[in-house]
């Protein structure tokens, strides 16, 4: 499982470096993501720009992460590729996430403020 994380404006950006979030790795992906919620950062942004394929198990894992984030942390998605976007749209789960076209867009407000 390859995830890389960087701090940005007090938040944390976690990039999924593998091309697939599927049934074979959904559980280990969820476990690896969980570690990034233990720090002081109020927001975790998951960068999906390297991910070409998400199946319903992968989608379930991403929903589970949102549920575990609870009220204390916010969790947003960024950089969905067309195939991944389609899975969220067809299941209407695009309606429950904050989704940015890119990580940059997720920080656009801060850029204006500074």
């Amino acid at each position: 499982m390859h995830l890389s994380s960087t701090e940005r404006n007090g938040d944390i950006v976690v990039r999924m470096d593998e091309a697939r979030i599927d049934a074979a790795i959904a559980v280990s992906f969820k476990d690896a993501m969980r570690a990034h919620f233990s720090g002081p950062h109020p927001r975790v942004v998951l960068d999906l720009s390297q991910v070409e394929f998400v199946d319903s198990s992968g989608l379930g894992a991403i929903v589970a992460i949102l549920k575990e984030a609870g009220d204390d942390k916010s969790f947003a998605l960024a950089g969905m590729t067309p195939g991944v976007e389609k899975v969220f749209r067809l299941t209407r789960m695009d309606s429950v996430f904050t989704i940015y076209p890119s990580v940059e867009d997720g920080f656009a407000d801060e850029a204006h403020a500074s």
């Binding site: 697939r20 599927d22 049934a23 074979a24 379930g60 549920k67 609870g70």
Partner: protein, 145 residues
């Protein structure tokens, strides 16, 4: 014409490898990228369901997959020797309720909905000792959703 016939080990890794082979084949056949993505998703959901449910208690589980292709569509037959579908029929495939509270967001139940949304002529037959699932995906006009 049958363009792919393969035995898939009934494990998540077996499914992964079969999907890679399937996508290579579709690219060889000059299928458009957005169609390849839909085909991969549907076949992934179908195979994952078989691995997680039908073949759960089967020793050395194997799935037989074949793909026929015309200019208009790809047609699949997927057979396994696992337990039958509940009631010997396809699940309803309705989208799980999202609800209005984060605690109740569904983490599963999406698979059959995706299959039904993206396929035509979806059919399940319980044969003696075997499940057979067949469906087609059009290659020209995407099913608009």
């Amino acid at each position: 014409m049958t363009v792919l016939r393969t035995d898939v080990p009934g494990t998540p890794e077996g499914v992964r490898n079969a999907l890679a082979k399937l996508c290579d084949k579709l690219h060889d056949e000059q299928v458009a990228e957005d169609r390849v993505r839909s085909v991969e998703l549907v076949v992934a959901e179908a195979l994952n369901n078989i691995v997680e449910h039908a073949l759960k208690d089967v020793a050395a589980p194997t799935i037989r997959l074949s793909m026929d292709k015309t200019d208009q569509a790809v047609a699949f037959e997927i057979c396994d020797c696992g337990t039958p579908m509940p009631g010997n029929q396809l699940p309803p495939g309705t989208l799980p309720d999202i609800g209005d509270r984060v605690e109740t967001y569904p983490e599963g139940g999406f698979g059959w909905h995706l299959i039904k949304k993206l396929t035509v002529n979806l059919r399940y037959d319980r044969l003696p000792g075997e499940n057979k699932l067949s469906f087609q995906l059009p290659l020209s006009d995407e099913i608009r959703t």
